[in-house]
Amino acid sequence: MDTDRLNATFAALADPTRRAIIARLARGEASVAELAEPFDMSQPAISRHLKVLESAGLVSSGQDAQRRPRRLEAAPMAEIWEWLETYRKFWEARFSKMDHLLARLKAGESRKRKPRKGK
């Protein structure tokens, strides 16, 4: 089980600037200068964030030696998304049981509802 890689992915995505970079790259590749533009941050600062994203395998550099455009790598993103989806489904199964329970409790309450003040 590749826990280290998943950890690296989570760590990389834990930062809001890095998530914003990911969101930008999801729309297409971009150079460091282009990535730095919308942020109030220097290019070296952006480069540092990119380094974290690159070592997590989330971002790679393109061929163009001048611009070195960065682009998103789909596989690790899919991995983390799938993981969260599994976790989410586990909780969703629990909560849908709770839906049924709540429906019963609500029905029970309205049956025995006597004139009750407030809510």
């Binding site: 826990t3 998943l6 989570f10 834990a14 789909a74 969703e92 199964a93 629990r94 909560f95």
Partner: protein
């Protein structure tokens, strides 16, 4: 209207689970504190039952949950209530017997009601980032581990099938 569950990693050490229920807040609150209700929805992995569900619902009071399967395997966890504000907030510590979460977690459940719909936000704070990532990555149940294995297979297939795809 009930909505589907949302999961997000809100900080380095936390996970946030959100879900809305088509019911007033006091009923959702009851579902979190009454053993007979908790038993009904807080399921373990597929095929597991919950033979132990003890709740001493007061600040400093303990709770204990145990799930068991047909082979006699058991999985238990418990903790202490740190803060209780009916019907809107419960803070409790949580620790699994086989401590795979790298120490206690602190779980904060917040309930907000709007027009008869109650939103439950469960914030799970792990002892450290490593603990959080580890817990997420290892998976909480066998079902989830199975899901993770399927995912690894899928990823292997994906990796094999993407030579130089620039999208």
């Amino acid at each position: 209207m009930a909505q589907t569950t949302q999961v997000s990693t809100v900080s380095d050490t936390e996970v946030l689970i959100r879900r809305s229920f088509d019911a007033p807040r006091h009923l959702v609150f009851a579902c979190l504190k009454e053993p007979e209700y908790v038993r009904e929805w807080l399921l373990g992995p597929e095929g597991w039952t919950m033979p132990v569900c003890e709740i001493d619902f007061r600040v400093g009071g303990r709770y204990r949950y145990v799930w068991a399967n047909a082979d006699g395997r058991r999985m238990g966890m418990g903790g202490v209530y740190r803060e209780i504000v009916p019907p809107e907030r419960i803070v409790a510590s949580e620790l699994f017997d086989e401590d795979w979460t790298g120490g206690e977690t602190l779980n904060t459940s917040t309930l907000t009601e709007s027009r008869g719909v109650t939103t439950l936000a469960m914030r799970i704070a792990y002892a450290s980032k490593q603990a959080r990532d580890g817990a997420l990555a290892t998976g909480m149940t066998e079902g989830m581990e199975a899901g993770f294995k399927r995912l690894e297979t899928l990823l292997a297939t994906m990796a094999a099938a993407q030579p130089g795809d620039s999208r």
